[in-house]
Amino acid sequence: YEDPPGLVDKTEYLIREWINIYTTHQGRDSTKSFSVFVHQMNLHGILKTDDLITRFFRLSTQICIDTCYRILCDKSTLNSTGGRSKCYHTLDAFVRLVALLVKHSGESSNTTTKVQLLNKVLGIVAGVLLQDHDNRLGEFHQMPYQRVFTMLFLELNAPEPVLEALNFHVLTAYCHTFHILRPAKAAGFCYAWLELISHRVFIGRMLATTPQQKCWPLYSQLLVDLFKYLAPFLRNAELAKPVTMLYKGTLRVLLVLLHDFPEFLCDNYYGFCDVIPPNCIQMRNLILSAFPRTMRLPDPFIPNLKVDMLPEITYAPRILTNIAATISPPQFKKDLDSYLKARAPVTFLSELRSNLQVSNEPGIRYNISLMNALVLYVGTQAIAYIKNKSHSPSMSTIAHSAHMDIFQNLTVDLDTEGRYLFFNAMANQLRYPNSHTHYFSCTFLYLFAEANTEVIQEQITRVLLERLIVNRPHPWGLLITFIELIKNPTYKFWQHQFVHCAPEIEKLFESVARSCF
């Protein structure tokens, strides 16, 4: 409903007044003049009710944003740094006011009022952005909003005791706001959004300084938002320039995470791979290549590496996603558990495919998330089953079990598309030395050895090879599996027709083999 008469003018006057104070005051220490200004706000009745405060912030935001649009749309200043710094002038003043109000609202030791005010302002700015985005469409400008969010974040992360006490709330509020503004909701803000969530100070606070990794789940959610948005564009190999830019930017962010926070990628790999398109090989390899910094990876290329002698393969990796909960419908889960327990009824196997197939349209026939969940769930059950018998996974202990029944059934019963997704789901487990990597590596090799048609062997080879012929990095588990496949004579790899189906393919295998030996 309508703003009370006079409020718009009052707000305009006050915000201009503040911008003036901010600019003319000595340095940036405008705290002294802040109390005077708050008094003025009081005099104008702005602080009387919560509703008025909300309106004041909404109107102030709009006034600042409009000022920026005027500057940015002015042909003479477009793309000049002069124009931009004029915008910064206005936006930074607004941000300073918000930061001071947040810092000084309520008792200094009481964080609740401060956090409430921050949430209110972030919500208002997000609301103005979304409205602006939907109204202006192609004419929408990201910069003003990006600047407000960034500068406010820097202000609220200054090393001050009152802010330290607030910090976790600030990070939570920001993550909520960024989730609301995720690219799927505001595609025209996607570049600024990626820069915001990968700003060095934001990454530092979210992933490094906040204790007990408390913000890792929040950050993981933001990356899932990004992958979900990118998925339909990455799904098709042809990337348009805007997509290439966003994709490259995403790779850079992932590289920083791989280098500085590999454990974060290790913990969240499953959720990420679940939303990254299956054909997006390099980005997925990048995530799967992460390994804990405390771990020394044995060189996969040294001859006669005894993987099953490595101590690490007895330990299961941390999986944050509740895999069992993602297997649906519940009836299917129940049937699965009973089959795993009793290895009956056989009809379960014959119905498996119908549970996974959701349409007949090529390319989107299967429920990929369900496939991923099924594969990992059955695999973890198999490892537990083998351990219960005080064995460890090997070519003999993984065979002749309900678990292997399911995998062999999927291998034989699914069509090419389904089998590709199934093998992908398995290959996603080939990471650093751990019990999953070891189990699925053995399973891959077992399925290859036991395959009754060469089509299956060829497809296993294709899935592994396509992950090897892209630029680095390559996950350790992938390398050792492929090396074992082409080295171990039991698999008769080089005798298969598909290895020699064309000179360039043969050459490719030889060059990979050469680099492996």
Partner: protein
């Protein structure tokens, strides 16, 4: 196939963390020291 990730402007061999000087997803180079805020003693803030 794919990108050569070693030419995206990140020093992947750095023994130090990358994020403190990460120039952002669009930057070809890390931030320079003069780009990165630092909590210097207040007396140093002379201007």
């Amino acid at each position: 196939l794919g990108q050569d990730l070693t030419v995206l402007g990140l020093n992947l061999n750095s023994p130090e963390n990358l994020y403190p000087s990460f120039g952002g997803p669009w930057a070809d180079h890390p931030c320079r020291p003069q780009d990165v805020d630092f909590h210097v003693p207040p007396e140093y803030i002379i201007n």
